[in-house]
């Protein structure tokens, strides 16, 4: 990162092949970290091309908010330098943002200038259990409305929790306590001091318990205990797959809506899953209004079953677009979601993209 008389700028220029974990390993003794955390050890270039996000987005934003600039090569061989090391930029078109999330359609990214943030001094994880998924999701919307200081905010429906309970039992991980199979909010707080975190927790707890009928609210600060508390969230993908014996993969849905519609979207999708009689836990980066369903697939699944899974996804996207949201919150369009773009942006938007 750039130096200037002893004050370091919180940024790092990385080659696009460097993975997120490698970057954090490299800078760990500087007290800084790269915060975007998609859950897998992805390359920075790949994360940029896909506009990646993760559980830390509720506080730090996605890739878009953590990139200052990048270098790329256009299809005709032109080398392009976008962005600036300065924190604000009003010079010319925002090429950096254009390339971010372009999924390789505009050029090959060769290096990225990323923002770094200080490693938090105090971290506390919390769990909040609700009886009702709708109420839980509404609680999150209110928390965001009040600008609550949350570093992570994930909502798991009761299918997710029961998947985790089953998974812990069968994978022999008896160190994890059986969780209550109810919609659960997984929260994380970062702060300068114990006192500031305590204040934040009180604030959030009050809203959840008093206004949204949370059943209980537990929190812990030790590193081992935090890992244990969040175990259900960390193991979610594998726990979900194991809900259907023999499943090796899954369809993962992705949609994002304004927070006012989040509760409705998530509960309606969970309802769809029940009504269409398919297996699929739902969980969301609730603080962003973004959620996913993991729909495990078996090799010998019938056309009918696969059709019903598609139905869940189609309904979900239709509702998301109706609510003014997007057909893809994090995972990109690829080929599979191109068909939704005209619905989402209209012909004008598509026309400009084609330019």
């Amino acid at each position: 990162y750039k130096r200037n008389d002893g004050i370091l700028d919180p940024m790092a220029k990385v080659g696009s092949g460097v993975t997120k974990n490698r970057l954090n390993d490299e800078v760990r003794h500087s007290g800084m970290q790269f915060v975007v955390d998609p859950g897998a050890d992805a390359t920075i270039g790949g994360m940029t091309a896909c506009g990646a996000s993760g559980t830390s987005a509720v506080k730090y934003g996605s890739m878009r908010n953590n990139i200052l600039g990048l270098e790329c090569v256009l299809p005709d061989g032109t080398f392009v330098k976008c962005g600036t090391a300065a924190l604000k930029n009003s010079a010319g078109y925002d090429l950096t943002s254009l390339i971010t999330g372009s999924e390789g359609t505009l050029g090959v990214i060769t290096s990225v200038l990323v923002k770094l943030h200080p490693i938090p001094e105090h971290i506390v994880s919390a769990l909040c259990v609700f009886d009702d998924l709708f109420k839980a999701a509404e609680a999150v919307a209110m928390l965001k409305l009040r600008d609550s200081p949350l570093a992570r905010c994930e909502l798991l429906d009761k299918t997710s929790i029961s998947a985790f309970n089953r998974y812990s039992k069968t994978s022999g991980n008896s160190s994890h306590e059986k969780m209550e199979e109810k919609p659960t909010l997984f929260l994380e707080f970062h702060g300068y001091s114990k006192k500031s975190i305590e204040d934040n927790i009180e604030f959030v707890k009050k809203i959840c318990v008093e206004d949204y009928d949370a059943l209980n609210f537990t929190f812990t600060s030790g590193e081992e205990e935090r890992k244990s508390l969040w175990a259900a969230r960390h193991n979610l993908y594998y726990a979900s797959i194991s809900l259907r014996k023999g499943a090796t993969g899954a369809i993962v849905t992705d949609a994002c809506v304004p927070l006012s519609s989040f509760a409705r979207l998530m509960t309606k999708t969970a309802e769809d899953i029940r009504n269409l009689d398919v297996v699929g836990p739902c969980f969301g980066h609730a603080g962003d209004g973004n959620f996913h369903c993991v729909l495990p697939v078996l090799e010998d699944d019938s056309e009918d079953y696969l059709g019903r899974l598609q139905q869940v996804n189609d309904n979900l996207i239709r509702r998301a677009l109706e609510a003014g949201g997007t057909c893809s919150g994090e995972h990109g369009i690829g080929y599979g979601k191109i068909k939704y773009l005209s619905h989402q942006y209209g012909s004008g938007g598509l026309h400009m993209m084609k330019l």
Binding site: R22, H29, S30, Q33, E121
Partner: protein
């Protein structure tokens, strides 16, 4: 309890080293805190946090840049540091474990340490000798490759170690002792920015290795340093019979 921790400045674990003039080329190469030493510092700091130890002193032998390594140890929680200054190569080419353990012996006596924590080996020399040699010179008990360290109520320590044939638990009835730290002992913390700033103000004393009255000459002569032979390209076989033929007649793996 006063803990002394050795922290070695070594070639970063991710670097691909090159051999030049019968020695590893260290020009412009990234250097870092030896991973096993980092684990040792982490353990020492944890013992201090548990109130088992009251002071952690970090020691490094090396050129002036070794102070950076010491600052990292200080940022992780060491209270102060001692830099033994020398321009001799510490990767076995010039300074070797016997001389290094004698340097540590002198410092331990000066500091009146109760426990010495070292990494199990330096990733440059891979010797793993400093810990045992130091214990031998001091006449202290030693436990190497520790994967768990627990302070017992009576002032002794119980250490678990991983060996190729399984785990074993060793009890040290009383200190002082030397323990070398293995990979699974702990996961070292990330130093936070305020701790890094604080570390800049912590005390680092300097000593000159050559002035310590120790014979620093290497005991072993390094005859040759060379890179492992480049992997030969694989060949594609076009049939199972061909594969079996090669395994039998060329690789000699089948009778």
């Amino acid at each position: 309890m006063k803990i002394l921790v050795g922290v070695k400045r070594v070639v970063d674990y991710a670097v691909k080293v090159r051999v030049q003039n019968n020695t590893v080329d260290l020009k412009n190469i990234k250097m870092s805190l030896n991973p096993f030493c980092e684990i040792a510092i982490e353990e020492a700091v944890r013992l201090k946090e548990k109130k088992v130890a009251d002071e952690v002193v970090a020691v490094s032998i090396g050129p002036k840049q070794a102070t950076e390594t010491l600052r990292t140890a200080l940022a992780m929680g060491a209270d102060r540091a001692i830099h033994v200054m020398t321009d001799l190569r510490t990767d076995y080419m010039e300074l070797q474990p016997y001389a290094i353990s004698q340097i540590f012996e002198k410092i331990v006596e000066q500091e009146q340490s109760d426990l010495v924590l070292l990494g199990k080996q330096g990733i440059d020399s891979d010797c793993g000798q400093t810990g045992p040699m130091l214990a031998g010179l001091l006449g202290w008990p030693q436990v190497t490759f520790a994967s768990k360290i627990e302070a017992d109520d009576d002032g002794g320590m119980t250490v678990e170690r991983e060996t190729d044939s399984g785990m074993e638990s060793i009890r040290i009835p009383q200190l002082p002792a030397v323990i070398t730290c293995d990979l699974r002992l702990n996961e070292p913390r990330y130093a936070t920015l305020p701790n890094i700033m604080k570390a800049k103000k912590k005390k680092v004393d300097t000593m000159i290795a050559e002035d310590m009255g120790i014979d620093l000459k290497p005991r072993n002569e390094v005859l040759r340093v060379f890179e492992p032979p480049a992997r030969k390209e694989g060949i594609m076989v076009d049939s199972v019979d061909s594969l079996l033929d090669k395994l039998k007649n060329e690789a000699g793996l089948l009778s």
